[in-house]
């Protein structure tokens, strides 16, 4: 197991490096004077000159790249052109709001997704299966921002039960969690269903049944344990998706997280912040993928020796 962990960790490093490089060169494509754009519209001549020398924008591209890497190593992601605060601080104050919401949504969607998917598979071709299948296609099709508006209208405006925006109390989590989870619940339910189908047809399941094992034990011990292995990957991927899905949900509910920061920064062309948020998102995705791989190796020993 240890060698597996080390191998996975080593694969991560070039990926993060590649993302950092990709982001750097993507931002080289910006049309116009980069110093002017990075400094923002309200910047004075001195500020622009300051940024030009800080980033080495008057130097050749590869020198700029090495300056960029050195700055990142020191944790320096530049300053926001709008607030003037260091990008690192802007991100730090919002990062955990996004993670908290994504974790809650992941837990909720895994529980409901797996339960619905299992019911659907065990009641194959019966009314319960049809209802869950159709609902999950709706769950995948409903636009998250529309669902958010509908929920806000009913629960906040009509029934006055839930607060519309912000993240001050536990009540504030309810609607964003629902909006974020619906797609994932549907997705996980569909995956669980098809994964269960596959396992239910395996020889060892037939054997277990034929030797007179109780159906409940067959399902719990032989079927679910094996069927949930691929579901782990999906849950992990959904966590990544939920971090990204935060972009829309956070904006609608005015949730002070990274997604909303990204949208407002793109809107205001505060590119230093955009760059910083992208790097943080990227690193998080790589780490989440690493975690899935490790978990996968833990539950399925076959993977480790591959």
């Amino acid at each position: 197991m240890l060698s597996y962990i080390i191998r996975r960790l080593l694969v991560c490093i070039p990926t993060v490096f590649l993302v950092i490089t990709l982001v750097f060169f993507a931002f080289q494509l910006i049309p116009g004077d980069a110093a002017l754009i990075f400094a923002g519209e309200q910047a004075s001549q001195e500020q622009i000159a300051q940024i030009r020398s800080d980033l080495g924008l008057d130097k050749p591209v590869f020198e700029q790249y090495s300056i960029y890497l050195q700055r990142l190593l020191k944790g320096d992601m530049g300053k926001s052109a709008i607030t003037g605060r260091p990008v690192f601080l802007e991100i730090k104050s919002r990062f955990f709001n996004t993670v908290r919401l994504a974790v809650v949504a992941t837990v909720v969607s895994s529980i409901f997704g797996i339960v619905f998917g299992t019911i659907s598979a065990l009641k194959r071709e019966k009314p319960a299966d049809y209802v869950i299948s159709v609902l999950s296609i709706f769950g995948i099709s409903i636009p998250s921002f529309w669902l958010a508006l509908l929920l806000m209208y009913f629960f906040s405006v009509k029934l006055k039960l839930l607060p519309t925006t912000g993240n001050a109390s536990l009540k504030h989590y309810i609607m964003p969690t629902i909006v974020l989870s619906v797609y994932s619940i549907a997705f996980i339910a569909r995956m669980t269903r098809s994964s269960l189908f596959e396992i239910l047809g395996e020889d060892y399941v037939r054997t277990a049944r034929e030797k007179g094992m109780k159906e409940r034990i067959v399902i719990a011990k032989h079927v679910l344990r094996n069927a949930l292995i691929p579901v782990i990957t999906v849950v992990g991927l959904q966590f990544g998706y939920l971090l990204g899905g935060a972009v829309v949900t956070e904006t609608v509910f005015a949730w002070p997280g990274l997604g909303r920061l990204l949208v407002t920064s793109v809107e205001q062309r505060d590119l230093m912040v955009v760059q910083g948020v992208l790097l943080v998102f990227a690193t998080s995705f790589v780490l989440v993928n690493l975690l899935i791989d490790l978990l996968y190796g833990l539950v399925d020993p076959r993977i480790r020796f591959n």
């Binding site: 899905g245 955009v274 990227a282």
Partner: protein, 283 residues
């Protein structure tokens, strides 16, 4: 064409055995017809402002009601289908062309494989909307850039699919024998490989169209795509936010249209996947 026959043979099977897929297909065709014949289906113009009848609830004259500028919401929803469908078709087609080309290169030429697939993997590890936002932040906000952004988020999906397919077709006898007799690479790709992977590409396109529609609408909703006053579902929903206490009908109908069209494409895509993949038939 092999693929077309394949689809034709499966057509009957598809409609007989896949009710949900058939419903999806009908919804999709309906929306395409609405988009094509939009001007004939309405009595107002989508941008006709009439402040005396602003924020009216649905009535006989305005079946979906009017918005804050007194524009007829039904008309705008009908015209919105044009924008959403054309953006989705354009970006998925472009994404398919570029992605399939990259996938072919990666699958056929060993030397390019490493670089292309590594980039594809990195891009795939991001949610599409983040990739799209990155591109918009670099290029700036307008419709053209949004189409580029949505296209870009489709490319890696097509590249990965094609790459995998090429690797398996490559080992088949008719390809190896073509290589042996000295056929050139381009000819093999065109005549041997592409026809064999076409059906999976078509299925992939039908699966990615709804996600492209959704992404374009999300970007417009965030104010980073189609801008007002153009009638587009996402930006109509953005407009509705300010008025939703007084005029909830402003948000109901554009969202409903968006959900229906995505639902239609999703169920159709599911059905097509089953119909074109013989292994799935008995599931």
């Amino acid at each position: 064409m092999d693929t077309l026959n394949h689809i034709k043979n499966n057509f009957h099977f598809f409609f007989k055995n896949n009710k949900l897929g058939t419903i999806g297909g009908i919804i999709v065709i309906l929306f395409i017809l609405i988009a094509v014949f939009a001007p004939y289906l309405v009595t107002y113009s989508p941008n006709q402002i009439d402040l005396t009848s602003a924020l009216k609830s649905p009535s006989k004259g305005h079946i979906f009601g009017t918005d804050n500028n007194g524009r007829d919401i039904y008309t705008r929803v009908v015209f919105g289908s044009r924008i959403s469908l054309s953006i989705a078709f354009i970006s998925v087609t472009l994404g398919a062309i570029i992605g399939v080309t990259l996938g072919l290169l990666a699958g056929w030429f060993k030397r390019s494989e490493m670089i292309i697939m590594r980039l594809v993997d990195v891009l795939l590890s991001f949610p599409g909307i983040i990739v799209a936002l990155t591109i918009i932040s670099i290029l700036g906000t307008d419709v053209k850039n949004m189409i580029i952004a949505v296209t870009f988020s489709q490319i890696p999906q097509f590249a990965r699919l094609t790459h995998g397919q090429v690797l398996s077709v490559k080992e088949r006898e008719f390809v190896t024998s073509s290589v042996t007799v000295g056929a050139d690479d381009l000819w093999i790709m065109q005549k041997c490989i592409l026809p064999n992977i076409l059906s999976s590409i078509i299925v992939q396109m039908s699966i990615l169209i709804p996600s492209a529609i959704m992404m374009a609408a999300s970007l417009s909703f965030l104010g980073l795509g189609v801008r007002p006053p153009t009638a587009e579902w996402g930006s109509m929903l953005q407009d509705s936010v300010k008025w939703f206490r007084m005029a909830p009908h402003m948000m109901i109908f554009p969202g409903l249209a968006l959900m229906l069209v995505v639902f239609g494409f999703n169920t159709l895509g599911d059905g097509l996947r089953v119909a074109l993949d013989p292994r799935m038939k008995n599931r």
